[in-house]
Amino acid sequence: MSDFYTKFQIKIGSLELASPILNASGTFNPSVFSRLFSLKSHLGAIVTKTVTPNASSGNPQQRTVELPGIGMLNSIGLQGKGIIASMDVDIPQYYGCHDMPVILSISADSEIAFQRMSAYIEAHANRPYLQGIEVNVSCPNVHAGGALFGASPQWVEKAVHAVRQETSLPLWVKLTPNTTEVVAVAQASVDAGADALTAINTVLGSHIDIRRRTPSLAKVSGGYSGQGIKPIAIHHVLNIAKALPNTPIVGVGGIRRAEDVLEFLMAGATAVQVGTHCFSDPAVFVDLVQDLDTWCLAEGVASLQELVGVALP
């Protein structure tokens, strides 16, 4: 497919994208995937792997577990070069060279770190491809004894506010499902200036290697992702869409087929991200675009935007 049809165009706040289909942070290698197909013709934007203030070599092995039929666990540990080297090298060389919007995923372990990183990004944001920031709050807050940042509306509000006051870039917050307060955290994000909400990040999970009689992951627990978490993600998208009808939602969790994308849109998501399935099938984006196009033709749907939230009770 050479280019998207108008039926794929969407708006997330002020940000216009050619397609509602994006990749999820940390699951996509633009330099390899672009050797297969044109990224610009199949994705609305590229979301980067999460960048942290300083370099991190990530967690020890074993970092991933396959969960046949349902997905996987990961505890990669935000391996990366840190914001300075990422802005200098990775962002322009791997992400910024595909003539399409790039959403920079960032994470930090304190409010001040979020703020300083955002100021640094803003000072280096004279790059046309850099069109948004996705704040990943699924990390420990060092000022809260290492508890998950994203679990508390107050902490998230502070973190998002810290980012918002330093940058004018569109701001998305990626919500964790590992809290009983998902909607309150969503509300706090919007109150602090978020333009959109990405739901959901991975679900905490663990796995035992019965042969070795130990947890499979070196870090014991990790993030569960893949098709098994789709009902959880749909549940949260529905709840957030109901509570915050004016805030765009980027749905993510277990998408592998066009039907999954449609489910997310109907539940209230304006766009979607494909994560785990990129690992087992990088060409998934090509199939999704073709299959959605076919579905729209068969159903007489002129624009995918018509479908957003139609299933909301």
Binding site: G26, T27, F28, N29, S31, V32, F33, R35, L36, F37, P53, N54, A55, S56, S57, G58, N59, P60, Q61, Q62, R63, T64, E66, L67, P68, G69, I70, G71, M72, N74, I76, Q79, K81, G82, I83, I84, A85, A108, S110, I112, A113, R116, M117, A119, Y120, A123, A218, G226, Q227, R256, T276, C278, F279, S280, D281, P282, A283, V286
Partner: protein
């Protein structure tokens, strides 16, 4: 002279593959032949260089699985057929073992780098150290050499270690067609084939002057076997640069997931096996007692600029 593993220009594509045969031996070693269609995106024929790997879709009715990395043991460019040898060691290879003739699947190929070419140097000064199904990329390298016109005199020496004769039986005709018998050293754990003992023991039994002329050693096999080869190489193969082809657990094979990393010697930084490898100079990697050090890279970030995140640094951005 040290040579770099090759960053190949092999085109990457997704290929529909069809099972030509999928036979098992009594020891559980399987031999799978796949016929490759033209690539889905570039409509070109499949191309591979020894060392590179493919990611094979082994999903069945159970649904989601990661693709599995395999190296081809043999590639026929004319018929577009490639051979894989594998053992049933987990869920993926178990699914593969049930594949029937004519069944189709999908492979992403070719991925990763390739063994260095020894152009300008005689390949007979290269020794191949293979353990079990680790034979595949090494014997493909020998096959590529034959296609380039290497004569018997030019061929590398191959040391091939297996558990028992039955495991190697079906492969012997293919090996003998590529490697002259006087350059083929077979060894088995139980002594039923060739020398009794593993690959390193087999090397130790050779006359040192016979081994001194090797300038390059390419190693592929189980991690403990590669570890033993790398640790003993300075003594047993004093003049050889050692390369390993790693067979790590790879969730994606495309550099997207960061699941297959190993530590880099010196810096300790994690390297993605699928993207930086799978062929590495052994000295590039961080080795532990039993194999690759998969823990020691934590905290190794000195190479990157420090970003101050404390309140006292305010204003200093």
């Amino acid at each position: 002279m040290s040579l770099s593993p090759i960053l190949t220009e092999s085109p990457l594509d997704e290929f529909a593959v069809r099972v030509v045969f999928n036979t098992s031996s009594p020891t559980g070693l399987f031999h799978l032949r796949l016929a490759f269609d033209l690539g889905r995106f570039h409509q070109k024929q499949h191309h591979v260089q020894a060392g590179q790997f493919l990611m094979l879709d082994v999903q069945d009715e159970q649904g989601f699985r990661f693709r599995r990395p395999y190296s081809l043991m043999s590639w026929n460019a004319e018929t577009q057929e490639g051979d894989i040898i594998y053992k049933v060691v987990g869920e993926g290879s178990k699914a593969l073992s049930r594949w029937q003739v004519g069944q189709t699947s999908v492979a992403l190929s070719s991925l990763g780098n390739a063994f260095p070419q020894v152009a300008g140097q005689n390949p007979r000064h290269t020794i191949l150290l293979a353990g079990g199904v680790g034979l595949a990329p090494l014997i493909l390298w020998a096959e590529e050499g034959r296609q380039k016109g290497w004569q018997d005199d030019d061929m590398p020496t191959l040391v091939f270690g297996v558990r028992s004769q039955a495991e190697a039986q079906s492969l012997l005709p293919h090996l003998a067609s590529l490697i002259p018998l006087d350059k083929l050293l077979l060894c088995s754990d139980d002594g039923s084939l060739g020398f009794q003992g593993h690959v390193v023991a087999c090397l130790e039994a050779q006359a040192p002057e016979e081994l001194a002329h090797f300038e390059h050693a390419f190693v592929c096999g189980p991690t403990p076997m590669m570890n033993a080869c790398v640790k003993t190489a300075p003594t047993l193969l004093p003049n050889a640069h050692v390369y390993v082809s790693l067979e790590n657990h790879m969730p994606c094979g495309t550099g997207a997931c960061f699941g297959c990393v190993v530590g880099q010697a010196g810096s300790g930084l994690p390297l993605k096996v699928c993207e930086a490898g799978p062929v590495f100079e052994a000295s590039q990697l961080l080795w532990g007692k039993k194999g690759l050090d998969t823990v020691g890279f934590a905290g190794a970030c000195d190479a990157f600029p420090v970003f101050e995140t404390t309140a006292s640094a305010e204003g200093g951005v």
